[in-house]
């Protein structure tokens, strides 16, 4: 670091203080991040070191390590993470490659790819797990309906891997597609020109250039898999992962172990995900983008060779159709008279929820309301943080960016546990703020914290596209920070704002892992209800809720697309 002159520091400080709104918003955000991201984690970590007199500092950690069940859970988490992430990346790469190098021609296929591309945003937990049970479970449509009494062991490793792979591959597809599109076709043309076949070109140019990107995709899915709670819970059978173990420990499923032990477990998972998060964010993400700085200047020449295109298209579309069918199965599941026995269509589960006890309406209203409030708060805050981080200079700017991204590294279950430890008896066990525990407010806060990284990230990238000089010109004309933000920045990033709003709404309403630890029976939240009904074997009702989630998520995206298109058109007309 260079030493700036003291005059420079003084001037920058004076300029900052002359803009009180800016100062206040920085402080305000800093306090909130400290309170709702840093503080609970600190409390969790400190609790993991609370030991009986005479025990070593690390005795909780050692005690946990000695539990065979924990060791098994740790092993399961790693194995599932590796297998699911590698499989998801392979399938994602296949999709990306087909998308970038092969003319799909048929509109049906293009539609399949388009739907697959929206799945990462709209993947309510349980949906794929429910339909995997529906198809391959003990009384599943395929196991029983087609193969008769075939016994099935979809529960366990196979089930989780199947469901996780299908959940994460669309994200890998989108990430790799972006990178493939950035490879300058003239690179490939150059090696072809020197006599390389398509195969040689693939292995000497395309694949090596993508290696960091592929690594990045694997890590991102690995992180998701480690943090995954819903799928192992529902389809894991007797397979426990770290996330589910922590949940069971806290809700009393396991009889052994103290609170300190549970905290130590959570910290193990937190350390695991944080290491991989840092690796992903600061090593692979940077490298995957920097190796591909070229802008694709021209359309690339697509592969014509039928012996290549036909098999690739068949595999990709089979997987794509399979995923879509799985989503439809959930709808069918909600209409089936008796799960796995009586395949006649009935509305009784829908009636049960919406006419019978009215639980459905209450759950819908609660979930929608909480998620909506959280989405509004998230999108405002993330744009504000993104603005400060991307456009302003102040001490602690990088810390602010890091902390707001940190929630990405914290699995929902760990965050849930940390919130319990941090707020159940108030701040530092003082009783202050203890009221928020068990209220809807804490759920909203968790939603905001969990969606913030995505919002901030997309906000920053949107802001970086606005040339600095546009805002400078407004400031030069006499506008202060607030005026620049409201009259220039905000109007220019409104599309990003709206998509952030919808994304965080969908993320919130479909979230489960942190919520399930913080929710009280009075608050009916859809995903928590799905878990409860599925746990009791009442899959019909679970499917009704899951269907509602799918519809809500797609409707939100549809509305967003309509809105942004209309806003765009309005600009044109004006």
């Amino acid at each position: 670091m260079v030493k700036k002159s003291s005059q420079w520091k003084r001037l920058e400080r004076e300029k900052m203080f002359s803009d009180p709104v800016l100062m206040i918003s920085i402080l305000f955000i800093a306090v909130l991040l400290l309170l709702f991201v840093i503080y609970p984690l600190v409390m969790l970590i400190s609790e993991s070191f609370e030991v009986e007199k005479g025990d070593g500092v690390f005795s909780n950690y050692l005690a946990v390590l000695k539990m065979p069940s924990f060791r098994q859970a740790f092993r399961n988490t790693l194995v599932l993470g590796v297998v699911s992430s590698v499989l998801a990346t392979i399938i994602g790469f296949l999709f990306a490659y087909v998308d970038a190098y092969i003319d799909l021609k048929s509109r049906l296929l293009k539609g399949v790819f388009k739907i697959v591309a929206t799945l990462p945003i709209v993947s309510p937990p349980f949906v794929l797990a429910l339909s995997a049970l529906f198809l391959f479970g003990n009384s599943g449509l395929i196991t029983r309906g087609i193969f008769g009494q075939l016994s099935s062991n979809i529960k366990g490793y196979r089930g989780i891997i199947l469901v996780q792979t299908l959940t994460y591959f669309p994200t890998c597809y989108l990430m790799l597609k972006g990178l493939l599109k950035n490879i300058d076709p003239s690179l490939e043309e150059a090696v072809r020109n020197m006599g390389a076949s398509r195969k040689v070109e693939f292995f000497t140019v395309t694949l090596p250039l993508l290696v960091p990107g592929i690594g990045n995709a694997i890590l991102v899915s690995f992180l998701e898999s480690c943090a995954d709670f819903a799928n192992p819970m529902l389809i894991g059978g007797n397979i426990d992962t770290l996330a589910t173990s922590i949940y069971l420990q806290y809700t009393g499923g396991w009889s052994t172990g103290s609170a300190g032990n549970a905290a130590a477990m959570a910290v193990y998972l937190l350390v695991l995900t944080t290491i991989f998060f840092l690796l992903q964010k600061y090593v692979l993400e940077v490298r995957s983008v920097s190796t591909l700085t070229g802008k694709a200047s021209r359309q690339r020449i697509l592969i014509e060779d039928k012996s290549v295109t036909v098999p690739l298209k068949i595999i990709a579309s089979a997987i794509g159709f399979f995923v879509i069918i799985m989503y439809l199965c959930v709808l069918y599941g909600s209409l089936m008279t008796v799960w796995g026995r009586d395949y006649r269509v009935t509305l009784k589960w829908w009636r049960y929820l919406f006419v019978g006890n009215g639980e459905g309406i209450r759950a819908f209203v609660t979930s929608f309301g909480l998620a909506f409030i959280a989405a509004v708060i998230t999108s405002v805050f993330s744009m504000l943080i993104a603005y400060l981080v991307a456009k302003k200079r102040f001490v602690g700017r990088q810390v602010m960016e890091f902390v707001s991204m940190l929630a990405m590294a914290v699995p929902g279950t760990v965050l849930g546990v940390a919130y319990i430890r941090g707020f159940v008896t108030g701040l530092f066990h003082s009783g202050v703020l203890s009221g928020i525990y068990g209220s809807s407010a804490i759920l909203i806060i968790v939603f905001v914290v969990r969606s913030l990284p995505v919002g901030v990230r997309s906000g920053i990238s949107a802001l970086r596209q606005i040339d600095q000089s546009i805002e400078e010109s407004a400031c030069d004309m006499g506008a202060g920070s607030t005026k620049v933000f409201t009259s220039v920045t905000l109007p220019l990033i409104k599309d990003s704002f709206f998509s952030g709003l919808v994304t965080s709404f969908v993320r919130s309403i479909t979230s489960i892992s942190a919520v399930i630890l913080l929710v009280t029976p009075k608050i009916l939240f859809i995903t928590v209800r799905i878990n409860a009904y599925a746990d009791n074997g009442n899959f019909g009702v679970a499917c009704v809720y899951a269907t509602i989630l799918i519809i809500l998520a797609y409707a939100s995206i549809g509305i967003m697309n309509l809105c942004t298109k209309r806003l765009y058109m309005q600009d044109k007309i004006e």
Binding site: Q7, E14, S18, S469, A474, C475, G478, S487, D571
Partner: protein
């Protein structure tokens, strides 16, 4: 239009940056001191990376100087944010607000100053007619050509009647022809309004055409401040001589100094010259502008023609004289003898056109 002509003073300004590759700090602007007079049009000129834009951005307030103080009028403005300074800048890429139309872009600064609506309207319309954009008020920015956007940017800066008008290479995105007509336009408007203006460019002919005085910068330092004639005919060093216009150099030796008359020997010829600075070495360089010489049967220095080309309005020669490559342009070549490559000739020039540069 405005009476508040202000001076701008840079008092030993320095700005530190870090080289992103080596991590080492360097001075982007190094101890710059200038006094710009009220109503004066001053150009910061230099190659890219010389610190001229940084200097301009410090005047505007986007960068804080690490050392030194900046004054606008009598006021020290170091601690003021850009919106509190009475400056208006025309940006290289115009930086017009893409979601506003022409009227709202120009009115933006006036609205911030809470001017009454009808006064705002009047001012915007007046300024738009000054820059020649009558009737364009309702156009969106993306419906304008580059030159029109340039005019909007200028109008937006002028309309708030700032104490100082700042230009950051405003013409570099325009095509060559438009550049020439716009610079005349900018000069005309600046004269008409009578405003103090600081203009950054790397184009020396633009600087010549537009400025009262030129500030030449190199590697963060101000190397010369002077009128266009000063910097062209009396550059202080080799860099300035070479950067401004086309230059040829001869090597010379000081053989005697008598008061302000300095005798310099070039080859076998001796010239008596005047220099503003006393010599510090025996070795010196002599600047000759290509248009100040011609080739002849008789002259001051013998030479051999190494290149000869007809360029239309002039004949372009390169000759070898005392082991230096000298460029000569002879205008109206039709009436003159054309020398061929390999011809022996003499360089003919007026000894007054030799300018002494110390190493």
């Amino acid at each position: 239009m405005t009476d508040k002509k202000m001076n701008v003073k840079l008092d030993h300004i320095s700005k530190l940056y870090v080289n992103p590759k080596t991590g080492k700090p360097f001075k982007a602007v190094d101890d710059a001191t200038v006094d710009i007079l009220p109503g004066e049009f001053v150009t910061l000129l230099g190659p890219s990376g010389c610190g001229k834009t940084t200097t301009l951005r410090m005047i505007a307030g986007f960068e804080s100087p690490d050392e030194g103080e900046i004054y606008i009028g009598e006021e020290a403005v170091n601690a003021l944010t850009p919106n509190k300074r009475d400056t208006a800048m025309v940006f290289q890429n115009y930086a017009l607000l893409p979601h506003y139309n022409v009227f709202n872009n120009v009115a933006y600064g006036l609205k911030l100053r809470k001017l009454p609506k009808d006064e705002t309207r009047k001012k915007v319309f007046d300024i738009l007619s000054l820059v020649g954009l009558n009737g364009m008020e309702d156009r969106m920015i993306n419906q304008l050509s580059g030159g029109q956007q340039q005019r909007v940017a200028l109008a937006r800066a002028l309309v708030i009647e700032p104490a100082v008008l700042l230009f950051d290479e405003p013409l570099s995105n325009l095509d060559a022809k438009l550049r020439v007509s716009m610079r005349t336009e900018i000069r005309r408007i600046q004269q008409q309004v009578g405003i103090t203006a600081v203009y950054v460019t790397h184009d020396q002919s633009e600087a010549m055409a537009i400025s009262d005085r030129i500030i030449i910068m190199d590697q963060g330092r101000i190397v010369q401040i002077g009128s266009p004639k000063d910097v062209y005919y009396r550059p202080v060093n080799h860099f300035v001589a070479d950067f401004i216009g086309d230059a040829s150099f001869l090597k010379g030796k000081v053989i005697s100094v008598k008061d302000d008359a300095i005798s310099v020997q070039i080859g076998s010829a001796v010239f008596v010259l005047h220099a503003s600075l006393p010599p510090n070495t025996v070795e010196c360089e002599l600047l000759l502008r290509p248009e100040s010489m011609h080739l002849d049967e008789v002259g001051q220095l013998p030479c051999e023609v190494t290149y000869s080309k007809f360029m239309g309005s002039y004949q372009y020669y390169q000759v070898n004289c005392e082991d230096q490559m000298i460029k000569v342009t002879e205008y109206n070549p039709k009436q003159k003898k054309e020398y061929k490559v390999g011809d022996q000739a003499f360089l003919a020039f007026n000894a007054d056109d030799l300018h002494l540069i110390w190493k």
